[in-house]
Amino acid sequence: MVAHLLRLRLDLLVGSIRGGGRANAVIGLVLLVVVTTVTCAGVLSLADAEPERAQALIILGGSVLVLGCMLGPIVLGIADPLDPRRFGVFGLSPRALTPALALAGLISIPVLALLALLVCVVIVWHAHGVALPVAILAAALGLITCVLSARCSHVVGTLVFRPRHSRELSGVFVLILLIVVVPAGVFVASLQWRDAVPEPLAGLVTALAFTPWGAAWTLPAAVATGSGWFVGAIAVLTAGLLWAAWTVLVAMATTRTERPTHAGEHAGLGWFALLPGTPAGAIAARSLVYGLRDRRYLVNLVIVPVAAALVAVPLLVAGVPAEFVALLPVPIVALFLGWLPHNDVAYDSTAVWMHIAGGVRGVADRVGRLAPILLVGIPLLAIVVPVSAALHGDWSVTPALVGIAASLFLSALGLSSIASAVAPYAVARPGDSPFQQPQRHGSSGVLAQGLVMVGAIVVSLPVLLLSWQSITGEAVLLSSALSLSALWTGLGTGVGVLIVGVIVGGWAFNRRGDRIMEFAETA
């Protein structure tokens, strides 16, 4: 049966390549080849590096690789061609199926790339004087860990996430990944690599060495220092545990039937299926559909980087030190992001009648409308804050920056929630060009715009002052304490103003329903 399954897997692989017209598949393949080549070249260049540095990088890279194998299939939601569930109908014994499917899992393009990488790693280890059998054993353990992780992750993905898996969910996963990966990447890249392994990384590497993620990659170095048995045991145990998990998962997948109602449910609802079925959840889903599809919202988003650049460039020209200018984008981006939804109701035009006639509670309306800006804003800030800190050159300002960002972003959101219920002003209608200026009767909206901006800055003043003191302060201890207090003050201010804003805005929305309707019909 093993031979059968391997043949099947091979045929599937060839078929998927030969399928023809799969532009995406071809592009993906080319990208994979390029990335693999570059990575292999990078790994091979470590052969000349100092042993510690090479070791640290291999452990770090290997750990990230294993983590990627564990999360990738779930996050991307790719269909597994050899999904164990498909073999459920043949009545094969799990004892035979489990190893056969695991072996067949070795035949895939990503695993080929992984193999190439591992060969390079073995070469590097050998160049650093590791005995070839040890190096090959370690690489094999790494390979087994990666492949089994990926296989298990695939099955978990289909068992748990498939019923709800959708483009939207993948998007959210990718965003979450972005929030984690980008700051970490910026942090690692900004470290001083010139002389030796940077201080913060050295600790991380030592810690990783004794975890399931890093153990296999640590093995050659550990053998040299004498702790080989211990690390080897961890690596073998990891592989064994993954094998046990794989056995259980295959048994589950082949013997369990999914509830048939689950597949049809939520079909075609997109974001609505993903978010809770409450008024607030539905409004959030609707806002997301609009926010991501309607050009009027997208154009607004473009303002944010433009504003940041507009402020930064003149200051640089005027001779303000670059390390201070580098910090400016954080408050500006946070403020503008929070300010964006201050006229959200107007964008609904007369369709807002559904909320009013439906008797939607104001708070639910307010909360739901914040969903898209939170979904965009938090990842954006997660990128801007570390980049700013890296450009500034001193990571100790990070807590203060997070505090500033939280305070400005969240309190502007809170004030926007009030403004959009109390003082909406006319905007381009749905379907019109976002640049078309509407006829405006009465309020031009300047007041609302200004008040939200100024208000957010005013309530954030304490945080800004604290941060300023911590950044310009001389004493290191004091400034880091100030930085931390700025973080907590900022979070407190932001969350507080947001809650108050949502409640007051909700109350106003309930009270002013008819006036919002009159506004919508005349605008």
């Binding site: 079925g277 539905a282 609707r286 599809r293 609904d348 009648w353 006639a357 939607v360 749905p430 008819d514």
Partner: protein
């Protein structure tokens, strides 16, 4: 207990008498079960999912078999009127709701819309509200700038009525219906729905209403399915209930094939249908429909009519406006003629039209045809 007990007894007796099995003509299975029978429940209680319809029912139903002409509706309000039951049974807080002291002795009397039997009233209301009133407008005024769109309207719409509002362009029909729907607040006067004041108990009143506005946008970037889901969940229904009802409504309104497309791609008539389906999804007590048949094709409008008729026969109330007087005459049990923001005539269709046809009567009330002058240049052609 606002109703005298013996009155209640009479009513129930009448019900039993009416509904002996042989007294009822065998009813053909209609595709009308979309709207489940109105149970006398508080509106937030979950209503069991609707049974699926026969797929072919919409098509088979011949147009000639119009259930409206043989008007069974007039009999119904007493029998399964949920709102009359409310104060007596499960809503003790309504004990102060003004209910006319007159027992509803004779069934035919109930339909007389302007049943002006006065009874001593609560201080708030100058005019009494007869038992079984779904909707009561008293002295409602709405002013936009200098123009009085609605100028002191009194309307009393009994439960189970199929109520039409007709009027020339700009007569204030849409404004009136918007105020009923809670989208606008009257400058003066009061609106009561099922005995609840729309101003002070707006959340409760809004739950009882299903609304189809005219010329207001909807969230048309959503697909049909998403839009209906949105309607249902905004009304506080559970997602599972919403999804089963979407299937039923889509079948009844012949939208099943279009549910996956964005509503912005729909034709005007289909948009109307999907919005009407959305207005019904929470099975409201009163449907407020502004021009429900505009741009809807004849077959669909017949299906909609059947759904509405069945809804009414199970105790629901429909208030609709239309330009099409013929349709109103054919469908509605009661009618109000609105001209210049005022009600010029109100009551049973027969009462209002008198000897004339409703259209002739309408022209009489609305001022009729004016001799068109001043466009004589149109009589010669410029090319």
């Amino acid at each position: 207990m606002a109703l005298p007990r013996d009155d209640h007894g009479i009513t129930v007796g009448a019900v039993e008498e009416r509904f002996t099995p042989d007294a009822l003509p065998p009813k053909p299975p209609l595709p009308l079960s979309v709207v489940p029978p109105r149970p006398p429940l508080p509106p937030d209680v979950e209503i069991p999912p609707v049974p699926p319809l026969p797929a072919s029912a919409v098509v088979d139903h011949p147009i000639t078999d119009d259930p409206i002409t043989d008007d069974p509706i007039t009999d119904d309000p007493i029998t399964d009127d949920p709102i009359t039951d409310d104060p007596t049974t499960d809503e003790p807080d309504l004990a102060d709701v003004p209910v006319s002291g007159e027992p509803v002795a004779d069934e035919s009397d109930v339909d007389a819309v302007v049943a002006e039997e006065s009874a001593p009233e609560a201080i708030v209301e100058p005019v009494p509200e007869p038992a079984g009133t779904a909707l009561a407008l008293r002295g409602v005024v709405k002013q936009f700038g200098d123009t009085r769109a609605v100028d002191g309207i009194d309307l009393t719409i009994p439960t189970g009525a199929f109520y039409g509002i007709v009027g020339p362009n700009g007569a204030g029909k849409t404004t009136t219906l918007s105020m009923i729907a809670g989208l606008l607040t009257p400058d003066r006067g009061s609106i009561r729905v099922g005995g609840h004041d729309a101003r002070t108990e707006s959340a409760r009143v809004k739950r009882m209403l299903g609304v189809l506005p005219d010329r207001l946008r909807t969230f048309d970037r959503l697909t049909g399915r998403q839009l209906l889901y949105y309607y249902g969940v905004l009304r506080g229904l559970k997602p599972v209930v919403v999804e089963t009802r979407i299937v039923d409504l889509a079948r009844a309104f012949d939208l099943t094939d279009s549910l996956g497309r964005p509503v912005s791609d729909y034709s005007a008539g289909m948009t109307k249908k999907v919005m009407l389906a959305g207005a019904m999804i929470h099975s409201p007590r009163v449907l407020v429909l502004d021009e429900p048949f505009e741009a809807v094709d004849p077959v669909s409008s017949d299906v909609i009519l059947e759904i509405l008729t069945d809804y009414v026969s199970h105790g629901g109330t429909v208030v609709l406006s239309s330009h099409s007087i013929g349709l109103i005459e054919r469908v509605c049990t009661q009618v109000a003629v609105l001209v210049g923001g005022q009600v010029l005539a109100e009551g049973d269709v027969d009462e209002v039209r008198g000897e004339l046809s409703l259209e002739q009567r309408f022209f009489q009330l609305a001022g009729g045809l004016v001799d068109v002058e001043g466009v004589e240049w149109l009589h010669t052609f410029s090319d």
